[in-house]
Symmetry: C2
Subunit: 274 residues, 2 copies
Protein backbone atom coordinates (compact mmCIF):
# COMPACT_ATOMS: atom_id res chain seq x y z
CA UNK A 1 0.00 0.00 0.00
CA UNK A 2 3.09 2.27 -0.19
CA UNK A 3 2.33 5.63 -1.70
CA UNK A 4 -1.11 4.63 -2.86
CA UNK A 5 -3.71 7.31 -2.37
CA UNK A 6 -7.42 7.04 -1.89
CA UNK A 7 -10.10 9.65 -2.42
CA UNK A 8 -12.51 10.23 0.45
CA UNK A 9 -15.12 12.73 -0.65
CA UNK A 10 -12.98 15.56 -2.02
CA UNK A 11 -9.72 14.66 -0.27
CA UNK A 12 -6.77 12.56 -1.38
CA UNK A 13 -5.45 10.57 1.59
CA UNK A 14 -2.83 7.80 1.88
CA UNK A 15 -4.56 4.40 1.68
CA UNK A 16 -3.31 3.29 5.10
CA UNK A 17 -4.97 6.35 6.64
CA UNK A 18 -8.23 6.00 4.73
CA UNK A 19 -10.95 5.45 7.29
CA UNK A 20 -14.66 5.89 7.70
CA UNK A 21 -16.53 6.68 10.89
CA UNK A 22 -18.19 3.57 12.27
CA UNK A 23 -21.46 5.53 12.18
CA UNK A 24 -21.56 5.28 8.39
CA UNK A 25 -24.56 3.32 7.12
CA UNK A 26 -22.21 1.01 5.20
CA UNK A 27 -20.76 -0.18 8.52
CA UNK A 28 -24.06 -0.07 10.39
CA UNK A 29 -26.40 -1.50 7.76
CA UNK A 30 -24.38 -2.53 4.72
CA UNK A 31 -25.96 0.32 2.77
CA UNK A 32 -24.18 1.63 -0.30
CA UNK A 33 -23.41 1.18 -3.98
CA UNK A 34 -20.25 1.12 -6.05
CA UNK A 35 -18.82 0.78 -9.50
CA UNK A 36 -15.49 -0.45 -10.77
CA UNK A 37 -13.59 0.33 -13.96
CA UNK A 38 -10.10 -0.37 -15.16
CA UNK A 39 -7.38 1.85 -16.51
CA UNK A 40 -5.14 0.73 -19.34
CA UNK A 41 -1.94 2.71 -19.89
CA UNK A 42 -3.30 5.31 -17.51
CA UNK A 43 -6.63 5.77 -19.32
CA UNK A 44 -10.01 4.70 -17.92
CA UNK A 45 -11.82 2.09 -20.03
CA UNK A 46 -15.54 2.61 -20.71
CA UNK A 47 -15.57 5.39 -18.11
CA UNK A 48 -18.79 6.99 -19.36
CA UNK A 49 -20.63 3.66 -19.13
CA UNK A 50 -19.39 3.09 -15.59
CA UNK A 51 -20.39 6.62 -14.60
CA UNK A 52 -23.84 6.04 -16.13
CA UNK A 53 -24.25 2.94 -14.00
CA UNK A 54 -22.77 4.56 -10.87
CA UNK A 55 -25.34 7.38 -11.01
CA UNK A 56 -28.07 4.89 -11.89
CA UNK A 57 -27.24 2.64 -8.91
CA UNK A 58 -27.08 5.66 -6.62
CA UNK A 59 -30.46 6.97 -7.77
CA UNK A 60 -32.01 3.52 -7.57
CA UNK A 61 -30.83 3.15 -3.97
CA UNK A 62 -31.93 6.72 -3.14
CA UNK A 63 -28.39 7.97 -2.52
CA UNK A 64 -27.87 11.57 -3.62
CA UNK A 65 -24.47 12.09 -5.30
CA UNK A 66 -23.07 15.44 -4.25
CA UNK A 67 -20.55 15.51 -7.10
CA UNK A 68 -21.69 16.42 -10.58
CA UNK A 69 -20.48 14.11 -13.32
CA UNK A 70 -17.85 16.68 -14.29
CA UNK A 71 -16.67 17.02 -10.67
CA UNK A 72 -16.53 13.27 -10.21
CA UNK A 73 -14.49 12.87 -13.38
CA UNK A 74 -12.08 15.56 -12.25
CA UNK A 75 -11.70 13.79 -8.91
CA UNK A 76 -11.13 10.43 -10.60
CA UNK A 77 -8.45 11.91 -12.85
CA UNK A 78 -6.77 13.65 -9.90
CA UNK A 79 -6.50 10.27 -8.15
CA UNK A 80 -5.23 8.53 -11.29
CA UNK A 81 -2.60 11.25 -11.81
CA UNK A 82 -1.56 11.06 -8.18
CA UNK A 83 -1.13 7.29 -8.05
CA UNK A 84 0.68 6.86 -11.37
CA UNK A 85 -0.51 3.29 -11.67
CA UNK A 86 -1.05 2.77 -15.41
CA UNK A 87 -2.86 -0.58 -15.31
CA UNK A 88 -5.30 -0.60 -12.45
CA UNK A 89 -8.79 -1.11 -11.15
CA UNK A 90 -10.62 1.95 -9.79
CA UNK A 91 -13.51 1.48 -7.41
CA UNK A 92 -16.00 4.27 -6.65
CA UNK A 93 -18.05 3.50 -3.53
CA UNK A 94 -20.96 5.61 -2.31
CA UNK A 95 -22.18 4.83 1.21
CA UNK A 96 -25.32 5.74 3.13
CA UNK A 97 -23.31 8.33 5.07
CA UNK A 98 -23.01 9.26 8.75
CA UNK A 99 -26.55 8.54 9.85
CA UNK A 100 -27.49 10.03 13.23
CA UNK A 101 -30.18 7.40 13.84
CA UNK A 102 -28.20 4.57 12.28
CA UNK A 103 -31.04 3.85 9.91
CA UNK A 104 -32.02 6.69 7.61
CA UNK A 105 -29.85 7.76 4.70
CA UNK A 106 -27.60 10.73 5.45
CA UNK A 107 -25.16 12.61 3.23
CA UNK A 108 -23.36 9.83 1.34
CA UNK A 109 -19.61 9.38 1.58
CA UNK A 110 -17.70 8.89 -1.65
CA UNK A 111 -14.66 6.61 -1.50
CA UNK A 112 -12.50 6.00 -4.53
CA UNK A 113 -9.72 3.43 -4.36
CA UNK A 114 -7.22 2.29 -6.97
CA UNK A 115 -5.30 -0.93 -7.01
CA UNK A 116 -2.89 -2.83 -9.21
CA UNK A 117 -4.54 -5.11 -11.65
CA UNK A 118 -3.57 -8.25 -13.50
CA UNK A 119 -5.51 -10.83 -15.42
CA UNK A 120 -4.82 -14.42 -14.44
CA UNK A 121 -3.31 -15.80 -17.66
CA UNK A 122 -3.39 -19.35 -16.35
CA UNK A 123 -7.16 -19.23 -15.83
CA UNK A 124 -7.50 -17.80 -19.34
CA UNK A 125 -5.68 -20.79 -20.79
CA UNK A 126 -7.33 -23.56 -18.85
CA UNK A 127 -10.79 -22.04 -18.30
CA UNK A 128 -12.74 -22.07 -15.05
CA UNK A 129 -15.23 -24.29 -13.30
CA UNK A 130 -18.59 -23.07 -11.93
CA UNK A 131 -21.23 -24.42 -9.61
CA UNK A 132 -24.84 -23.27 -9.82
CA UNK A 133 -26.73 -22.02 -6.77
CA UNK A 134 -30.29 -20.75 -6.28
CA UNK A 135 -30.17 -17.06 -5.44
CA UNK A 136 -31.48 -13.74 -6.71
CA UNK A 137 -29.80 -10.51 -5.70
CA UNK A 138 -32.35 -8.32 -3.93
CA UNK A 139 -31.68 -5.23 -6.09
CA UNK A 140 -30.53 -6.99 -9.26
CA UNK A 141 -30.28 -3.90 -11.40
CA UNK A 142 -28.13 -1.84 -8.99
CA UNK A 143 -24.53 -2.52 -7.99
CA UNK A 144 -25.04 -2.51 -4.22
CA UNK A 145 -22.57 -3.48 -1.50
CA UNK A 146 -24.56 -6.63 -0.76
CA UNK A 147 -22.25 -9.60 -1.37
CA UNK A 148 -23.35 -11.60 1.68
CA UNK A 149 -24.29 -14.69 -0.29
CA UNK A 150 -21.25 -14.60 -2.58
CA UNK A 151 -18.80 -14.35 0.32
CA UNK A 152 -20.71 -16.88 2.35
CA UNK A 153 -20.55 -19.35 -0.57
CA UNK A 154 -16.75 -19.21 -0.94
CA UNK A 155 -16.03 -22.32 1.19
CA UNK A 156 -18.69 -24.29 -0.72
CA UNK A 157 -17.14 -23.25 -4.05
CA UNK A 158 -13.70 -24.38 -2.86
CA UNK A 159 -15.06 -27.65 -1.49
CA UNK A 160 -16.39 -28.46 -4.93
CA UNK A 161 -13.08 -27.50 -6.57
CA UNK A 162 -14.86 -24.76 -8.48
CA UNK A 163 -13.74 -21.20 -9.20
CA UNK A 164 -17.01 -19.31 -9.00
CA UNK A 165 -20.76 -19.63 -8.62
CA UNK A 166 -23.53 -19.08 -11.17
CA UNK A 167 -26.80 -17.95 -9.62
CA UNK A 168 -30.13 -19.22 -10.89
CA UNK A 169 -33.73 -18.73 -9.84
CA UNK A 170 -36.05 -21.71 -10.24
CA UNK A 171 -33.58 -23.13 -12.75
CA UNK A 172 -33.35 -19.94 -14.84
CA UNK A 173 -29.75 -18.77 -15.00
CA UNK A 174 -28.82 -15.24 -13.98
CA UNK A 175 -25.22 -14.22 -13.27
CA UNK A 176 -22.07 -14.84 -11.28
CA UNK A 177 -21.59 -12.56 -8.24
CA UNK A 178 -19.06 -10.41 -10.08
CA UNK A 179 -19.48 -11.42 -13.74
CA UNK A 180 -22.08 -12.05 -16.43
CA UNK A 181 -22.57 -15.44 -18.00
CA UNK A 182 -22.67 -16.42 -21.69
CA UNK A 183 -23.09 -19.75 -23.45
CA UNK A 184 -22.60 -20.92 -27.03
CA UNK A 185 -25.21 -23.32 -28.39
CA UNK A 186 -24.54 -26.38 -30.55
CA UNK A 187 -25.57 -24.35 -33.60
CA UNK A 188 -23.17 -21.55 -32.62
CA UNK A 189 -25.50 -18.93 -31.26
CA UNK A 190 -24.23 -16.74 -28.41
CA UNK A 191 -26.74 -16.49 -25.54
CA UNK A 192 -26.71 -14.51 -22.32
CA UNK A 193 -29.39 -14.18 -19.60
CA UNK A 194 -31.63 -11.17 -20.04
CA UNK A 195 -33.25 -10.82 -16.60
CA UNK A 196 -32.47 -10.68 -12.87
CA UNK A 197 -28.91 -9.58 -13.58
CA UNK A 198 -26.66 -6.63 -13.15
CA UNK A 199 -26.16 -5.36 -16.68
CA UNK A 200 -22.38 -5.54 -16.88
CA UNK A 201 -20.44 -2.96 -18.84
CA UNK A 202 -18.20 -5.75 -20.19
CA UNK A 203 -21.37 -7.71 -21.03
CA UNK A 204 -22.68 -4.76 -23.04
CA UNK A 205 -19.48 -4.35 -25.05
CA UNK A 206 -19.02 -8.09 -25.55
CA UNK A 207 -22.59 -8.21 -26.88
CA UNK A 208 -21.68 -5.50 -29.41
CA UNK A 209 -18.67 -7.47 -30.57
CA UNK A 210 -20.61 -10.71 -30.65
CA UNK A 211 -23.53 -9.29 -32.64
CA UNK A 212 -21.15 -8.43 -35.47
CA UNK A 213 -19.76 -11.95 -35.66
CA UNK A 214 -22.42 -14.43 -34.57
CA UNK A 215 -26.18 -14.76 -34.00
CA UNK A 216 -26.47 -13.29 -30.50
CA UNK A 217 -29.39 -13.20 -28.09
CA UNK A 218 -30.27 -11.88 -24.65
CA UNK A 219 -32.73 -14.51 -23.54
CA UNK A 220 -33.86 -16.97 -20.89
CA UNK A 221 -31.37 -19.80 -20.29
CA UNK A 222 -32.11 -22.71 -17.98
CA UNK A 223 -29.82 -25.11 -16.15
CA UNK A 224 -31.14 -27.75 -18.56
CA UNK A 225 -29.90 -25.71 -21.53
CA UNK A 226 -26.35 -26.00 -20.17
CA UNK A 227 -26.32 -29.67 -21.13
CA UNK A 228 -26.41 -28.62 -24.78
CA UNK A 229 -23.82 -25.87 -24.39
CA UNK A 230 -20.85 -26.18 -26.73
CA UNK A 231 -18.94 -23.40 -24.97
CA UNK A 232 -19.42 -21.00 -22.09
CA UNK A 233 -17.68 -17.95 -20.72
CA UNK A 234 -18.08 -15.12 -18.26
CA UNK A 235 -17.39 -11.41 -18.69
CA UNK A 236 -16.29 -8.75 -16.22
CA UNK A 237 -14.06 -5.72 -15.88
CA UNK A 238 -11.37 -7.74 -14.12
CA UNK A 239 -11.65 -10.80 -16.37
CA UNK A 240 -12.64 -9.49 -19.81
CA UNK A 241 -13.78 -12.80 -21.37
CA UNK A 242 -12.92 -15.85 -19.27
CA UNK A 243 -13.73 -19.34 -20.64
CA UNK A 244 -15.86 -21.72 -18.56
CA UNK A 245 -15.07 -25.40 -19.09
CA UNK A 246 -17.11 -27.09 -16.37
CA UNK A 247 -20.44 -26.42 -14.60
CA UNK A 248 -21.69 -28.49 -11.66
CA UNK A 249 -19.10 -31.13 -12.53
CA UNK A 250 -20.29 -31.45 -16.13
CA UNK A 251 -17.72 -30.79 -18.82
CA UNK A 252 -18.66 -28.09 -21.34
CA UNK A 253 -17.76 -29.01 -24.94
CA UNK A 254 -14.42 -30.80 -24.90
CA UNK A 255 -13.41 -29.31 -21.56
CA UNK A 256 -11.17 -26.69 -23.13
CA UNK A 257 -11.80 -23.02 -23.88
CA UNK A 258 -14.02 -22.94 -26.98
CA UNK A 259 -13.21 -21.66 -30.44
CA UNK A 260 -15.89 -18.95 -30.55
CA UNK A 261 -14.98 -17.89 -27.03
CA UNK A 262 -11.40 -17.38 -28.16
CA UNK A 263 -12.48 -15.41 -31.21
CA UNK A 264 -14.62 -13.13 -29.06
CA UNK A 265 -11.89 -12.79 -26.44
CA UNK A 266 -9.40 -11.73 -29.12
CA UNK A 267 -11.75 -9.20 -30.65
CA UNK A 268 -12.70 -7.84 -27.26
CA UNK A 269 -9.06 -7.46 -26.20
CA UNK A 270 -8.40 -5.52 -29.39
CA UNK A 271 -11.08 -3.01 -28.36
CA UNK A 272 -9.69 -2.62 -24.87
CA UNK A 273 -5.96 -2.76 -25.41
CA UNK A 274 -5.88 -1.49 -29.04
Amino acid sequence: MNNIYVLINDLLVPADKATLSISDLAVQRGYGIFDFFKTVAGEPVFLEDHLDRFYYSAAHMRLPVRQSRKQLKDLLYSLIRKNQMPDSGVRMTLTGGYSPDGFNIAEPNLIVTQQGFQINADLMTRGISLITYPYKRQFSEAKTLDYLKAIWLQPLIKEQNADDVLYHRDGILAECPRANFFMVTADERILTPSRNILKGISRMHVLKVSEKLFPTEETEITIEDLKLAKEAFITSTTKNILPVVQIDGNIIGDGKPGVLTKVLAQEYKRIIYG
Copy 2:
Protein backbone atom coordinates in the same frame (compact mmCIF):
# COMPACT_ATOMS: atom_id res chain seq x y z
CA MET B 1 -21.32 12.38 21.28
CA ASN B 2 -19.44 14.13 24.11
CA ASN B 3 -17.48 11.77 26.28
CA ILE B 4 -19.08 8.67 24.81
CA TYR B 5 -16.65 5.85 24.25
CA VAL B 6 -16.73 3.04 21.75
CA LEU B 7 -14.94 -0.27 21.82
CA ILE B 8 -12.97 -1.21 18.71
CA ASN B 9 -11.57 -4.68 19.17
CA ASP B 10 -9.86 -4.41 22.58
CA LEU B 11 -9.56 -0.63 22.70
CA LEU B 12 -11.83 2.03 24.18
CA VAL B 13 -11.83 5.09 21.93
CA PRO B 14 -13.89 8.30 21.92
CA ALA B 15 -16.89 7.89 19.61
CA ASP B 16 -15.91 10.79 17.38
CA LYS B 17 -12.56 9.09 16.72
CA ALA B 18 -13.99 5.63 16.16
CA THR B 19 -13.14 4.66 12.61
CA LEU B 20 -12.68 1.61 10.49
CA SER B 21 -10.32 1.21 7.55
CA ILE B 22 -12.23 1.44 4.28
CA SER B 23 -10.74 -1.98 3.41
CA ASP B 24 -13.04 -3.66 5.95
CA LEU B 25 -15.48 -6.08 4.33
CA ALA B 26 -18.38 -4.22 5.95
CA VAL B 27 -17.52 -1.15 3.87
CA GLN B 28 -16.49 -3.11 0.77
CA ARG B 29 -19.20 -5.78 0.71
CA GLY B 30 -21.67 -5.10 3.52
CA TYR B 31 -20.42 -8.21 5.30
CA GLY B 32 -20.95 -8.51 9.03
CA ILE B 33 -23.32 -9.34 11.87
CA PHE B 34 -24.40 -7.61 15.04
CA ASP B 35 -26.53 -7.82 18.12
CA PHE B 36 -28.14 -5.20 20.30
CA PHE B 37 -29.18 -5.27 23.95
CA LYS B 38 -30.30 -2.65 26.40
CA THR B 39 -29.09 -1.69 29.84
CA VAL B 40 -31.52 -0.71 32.56
CA ALA B 41 -30.06 1.07 35.57
CA GLY B 42 -26.62 0.13 34.29
CA GLU B 43 -27.33 -3.58 33.98
CA PRO B 44 -27.57 -5.44 30.65
CA VAL B 45 -30.97 -7.03 30.00
CA PHE B 46 -31.05 -10.63 28.68
CA LEU B 47 -27.30 -10.41 28.06
CA GLU B 48 -26.76 -14.18 27.89
CA ASP B 49 -29.47 -14.53 25.24
CA HIS B 50 -27.96 -11.74 23.17
CA LEU B 51 -24.51 -13.28 23.48
CA ASP B 52 -25.93 -16.65 22.41
CA ARG B 53 -27.37 -15.06 19.31
CA PHE B 54 -24.25 -12.96 18.63
CA TYR B 55 -22.07 -16.08 18.57
CA TYR B 56 -24.72 -17.95 16.57
CA SER B 57 -24.94 -15.20 13.92
CA ALA B 58 -21.15 -15.03 13.72
CA ALA B 59 -20.80 -18.81 13.27
CA HIS B 60 -23.64 -18.89 10.75
CA MET B 61 -21.92 -16.20 8.68
CA ARG B 62 -18.53 -17.91 9.07
CA LEU B 63 -17.02 -15.08 11.13
CA PRO B 64 -14.59 -16.29 13.79
CA VAL B 65 -14.97 -14.36 17.06
CA ARG B 66 -11.54 -13.83 18.58
CA GLN B 67 -12.97 -13.00 22.01
CA SER B 68 -14.16 -15.77 24.26
CA ARG B 69 -17.55 -15.23 25.84
CA LYS B 70 -15.84 -14.30 29.09
CA GLN B 71 -13.53 -11.82 27.34
CA LEU B 72 -16.41 -10.28 25.42
CA LYS B 73 -18.43 -9.84 28.59
CA ASP B 74 -15.46 -8.21 30.32
CA LEU B 75 -15.11 -5.84 27.37
CA LEU B 76 -18.82 -5.00 27.41
CA TYR B 77 -18.73 -4.23 31.12
CA SER B 78 -15.60 -2.10 30.71
CA LEU B 79 -17.45 -0.01 28.13
CA ILE B 80 -20.57 0.23 30.27
CA ARG B 81 -18.50 1.32 33.29
CA LYS B 82 -16.63 3.86 31.20
CA ASN B 83 -19.71 5.49 29.67
CA GLN B 84 -21.83 5.68 32.83
CA MET B 85 -25.01 5.70 30.79
CA PRO B 86 -27.52 3.78 32.91
CA ASP B 87 -30.31 3.38 30.35
CA SER B 88 -28.85 2.64 27.00
CA GLY B 89 -28.67 0.44 23.93
CA VAL B 90 -25.45 -1.47 23.34
CA ARG B 91 -24.63 -2.69 19.87
CA MET B 92 -21.95 -5.34 19.20
CA THR B 93 -20.96 -5.42 15.52
CA LEU B 94 -18.62 -7.99 14.01
CA THR B 95 -17.39 -7.20 10.49
CA GLY B 96 -15.67 -9.26 7.80
CA GLY B 97 -12.37 -7.57 8.67
CA TYR B 98 -9.58 -6.00 6.65
CA SER B 99 -9.69 -8.23 3.61
CA PRO B 100 -6.61 -8.00 1.36
CA ASP B 101 -8.55 -9.13 -1.72
CA GLY B 102 -11.71 -7.23 -0.79
CA PHE B 103 -13.72 -10.43 -0.97
CA ASN B 104 -12.63 -13.19 1.37
CA ILE B 105 -13.27 -13.02 5.10
CA ALA B 106 -10.30 -11.76 7.12
CA GLU B 107 -9.88 -11.33 10.87
CA PRO B 108 -13.16 -9.76 11.97
CA ASN B 109 -13.29 -6.38 13.67
CA LEU B 110 -15.42 -6.04 16.78
CA ILE B 111 -17.12 -2.69 17.31
CA VAL B 112 -19.23 -2.03 20.39
CA THR B 113 -21.19 1.20 20.65
CA GLN B 114 -23.50 2.51 23.35
CA GLN B 115 -26.15 5.14 22.99
CA GLY B 116 -28.86 6.80 25.00
CA PHE B 117 -32.14 5.08 24.82
CA GLN B 118 -35.75 6.10 25.27
CA ILE B 119 -39.01 4.47 24.41
CA ASN B 120 -41.46 6.65 22.51
CA ALA B 121 -44.34 6.94 24.99
CA ASP B 122 -46.57 8.61 22.43
CA LEU B 123 -46.30 5.64 20.07
CA MET B 124 -47.06 3.35 23.01
CA THR B 125 -50.28 5.21 23.70
CA ARG B 126 -51.61 5.58 20.19
CA GLY B 127 -50.12 2.43 18.61
CA ILE B 128 -48.45 2.23 15.23
CA SER B 129 -49.42 1.64 11.63
CA LEU B 130 -47.77 -0.96 9.37
CA ILE B 131 -47.71 -1.71 5.67
CA THR B 132 -46.99 -5.20 4.36
CA TYR B 133 -44.33 -5.82 1.73
CA PRO B 134 -43.12 -9.00 -0.01
CA TYR B 135 -39.59 -9.75 1.11
CA LYS B 136 -37.55 -12.45 2.76
CA ARG B 137 -34.23 -11.65 4.41
CA GLN B 138 -31.52 -13.71 2.74
CA PHE B 139 -30.12 -15.12 5.99
CA SER B 140 -33.27 -14.98 8.09
CA GLU B 141 -31.86 -16.72 11.13
CA ALA B 142 -28.76 -14.53 11.48
CA LYS B 143 -28.66 -10.86 12.45
CA THR B 144 -26.59 -9.62 9.51
CA LEU B 145 -25.80 -6.04 8.50
CA ASP B 146 -28.12 -6.35 5.50
CA TYR B 147 -30.85 -3.72 5.87
CA LEU B 148 -30.88 -2.66 2.23
CA LYS B 149 -34.57 -3.30 1.74
CA ALA B 150 -35.65 -1.80 5.07
CA ILE B 151 -33.78 1.45 4.47
CA TRP B 152 -34.84 1.56 0.85
CA LEU B 153 -38.49 1.21 1.91
CA GLN B 154 -38.46 4.18 4.31
CA PRO B 155 -39.85 6.74 1.82
CA LEU B 156 -42.63 4.30 0.84
CA ILE B 157 -43.54 3.79 4.50
CA LYS B 158 -43.70 7.55 5.04
CA GLU B 159 -45.73 8.09 1.87
CA GLN B 160 -48.35 5.71 3.22
CA ASN B 161 -48.33 7.45 6.61
CA ALA B 162 -47.15 4.23 8.22
CA ASP B 163 -44.54 3.70 10.92
CA ASP B 164 -42.97 0.45 9.82
CA VAL B 165 -43.16 -2.43 7.36
CA LEU B 166 -44.19 -6.05 7.90
CA TYR B 167 -42.51 -8.47 5.50
CA HIS B 168 -44.36 -11.40 4.02
CA ARG B 169 -43.51 -14.13 1.54
CA ASP B 170 -46.29 -15.27 -0.77
CA GLY B 171 -48.76 -13.83 1.72
CA ILE B 172 -47.25 -15.60 4.74
CA LEU B 173 -46.25 -13.04 7.34
CA ALA B 174 -42.71 -12.97 8.71
CA GLU B 175 -41.34 -9.97 10.63
CA CYS B 176 -40.64 -6.26 10.66
CA PRO B 177 -37.07 -5.26 9.78
CA ARG B 178 -36.20 -4.66 13.45
CA ALA B 179 -39.06 -6.29 15.34
CA ASN B 180 -41.16 -9.43 15.56
CA PHE B 181 -44.88 -9.45 14.88
CA PHE B 182 -47.73 -10.84 17.02
CA MET B 183 -51.48 -10.89 16.55
CA VAL B 184 -54.41 -11.67 18.84
CA THR B 185 -57.26 -13.68 17.30
CA ALA B 186 -60.97 -13.07 17.84
CA ASP B 187 -60.98 -15.94 20.36
CA GLU B 188 -58.03 -14.41 22.21
CA ARG B 189 -55.17 -16.60 21.15
CA ILE B 190 -51.74 -15.01 20.80
CA LEU B 191 -50.04 -15.91 17.50
CA THR B 192 -46.60 -15.12 16.10
CA PRO B 193 -44.93 -16.26 12.85
CA SER B 194 -42.73 -19.30 13.28
CA ARG B 195 -40.61 -19.26 10.11
CA ASN B 196 -38.41 -17.02 7.95
CA ILE B 197 -37.77 -14.71 10.88
CA LEU B 198 -34.99 -13.59 13.14
CA LYS B 199 -35.86 -15.12 16.46
CA GLY B 200 -35.98 -12.01 18.60
CA ILE B 201 -34.84 -12.08 22.20
CA SER B 202 -37.82 -9.91 23.14
CA ARG B 203 -40.04 -12.29 21.13
CA MET B 204 -38.72 -15.22 23.16
CA HIS B 205 -39.37 -13.57 26.51
CA VAL B 206 -42.76 -12.20 25.46
CA LEU B 207 -43.72 -15.73 24.40
CA LYS B 208 -42.81 -16.96 27.88
CA VAL B 209 -44.99 -14.31 29.49
CA SER B 210 -47.81 -14.92 27.05
CA GLU B 211 -47.81 -18.70 27.49
CA LYS B 212 -48.56 -18.24 31.17
CA LEU B 213 -51.55 -16.01 30.49
CA PHE B 214 -53.13 -16.96 27.17
CA PRO B 215 -53.20 -19.73 24.56
CA THR B 216 -50.08 -18.91 22.59
CA GLU B 217 -48.77 -20.32 19.31
CA GLU B 218 -45.81 -19.96 16.99
CA THR B 219 -47.49 -20.69 13.68
CA GLU B 220 -48.12 -19.66 10.08
CA ILE B 221 -50.06 -16.41 9.77
CA THR B 222 -51.26 -15.07 6.42
CA ILE B 223 -52.17 -11.56 5.31
CA GLU B 224 -55.76 -12.88 5.13
CA ASP B 225 -55.63 -13.80 8.83
CA LEU B 226 -55.01 -10.14 9.67
CA LYS B 227 -58.61 -9.37 8.72
CA LEU B 228 -59.72 -11.38 11.73
CA ALA B 229 -57.14 -9.92 14.10
CA LYS B 230 -58.57 -8.37 17.24
CA GLU B 231 -55.23 -6.91 18.28
CA ALA B 232 -51.66 -6.80 17.04
CA PHE B 233 -48.29 -5.73 18.37
CA ILE B 234 -44.58 -5.89 17.67
CA THR B 235 -41.71 -6.70 20.01
CA SER B 236 -38.09 -5.58 20.04
CA THR B 237 -35.30 -4.54 22.37
CA THR B 238 -35.92 -0.87 21.69
CA LYS B 239 -39.71 -1.11 21.76
CA ASN B 240 -40.56 -3.86 24.25
CA ILE B 241 -44.20 -4.42 23.26
CA LEU B 242 -45.58 -1.80 20.90
CA PRO B 243 -49.26 -1.94 19.87
CA VAL B 244 -50.18 -2.05 16.16
CA VAL B 245 -53.52 -0.43 15.33
CA GLN B 246 -53.51 -0.39 11.53
CA ILE B 247 -52.10 -2.60 8.76
CA ASP B 248 -52.25 -1.68 5.06
CA GLY B 249 -54.83 0.95 5.94
CA ASN B 250 -57.13 -1.51 7.69
CA ILE B 251 -57.95 -0.79 11.31
CA ILE B 252 -57.11 -3.55 13.77
CA GLY B 253 -59.84 -4.08 16.40
CA ASP B 254 -61.20 -0.69 17.41
CA GLY B 255 -58.08 1.16 16.24
CA LYS B 256 -56.69 1.49 19.74
CA PRO B 257 -54.05 -0.57 21.58
CA GLY B 258 -55.76 -3.82 22.58
CA VAL B 259 -56.58 -5.08 26.04
CA LEU B 260 -54.48 -8.24 25.87
CA THR B 261 -51.62 -6.28 24.33
CA LYS B 262 -51.70 -3.94 27.33
CA VAL B 263 -51.75 -6.84 29.79
CA LEU B 264 -48.75 -8.41 28.10
CA ALA B 265 -46.92 -5.08 27.88
CA GLN B 266 -47.44 -4.53 31.61
CA GLU B 267 -46.24 -8.02 32.54
CA TYR B 268 -43.27 -7.74 30.21
CA LYS B 269 -42.26 -4.36 31.63
CA ARG B 270 -42.36 -5.85 35.11
CA ILE B 271 -39.78 -8.44 34.05
CA ILE B 272 -37.50 -5.87 32.50
CA TYR B 273 -37.79 -2.95 34.87
CA GLY B 274 -38.73 -4.88 38.03
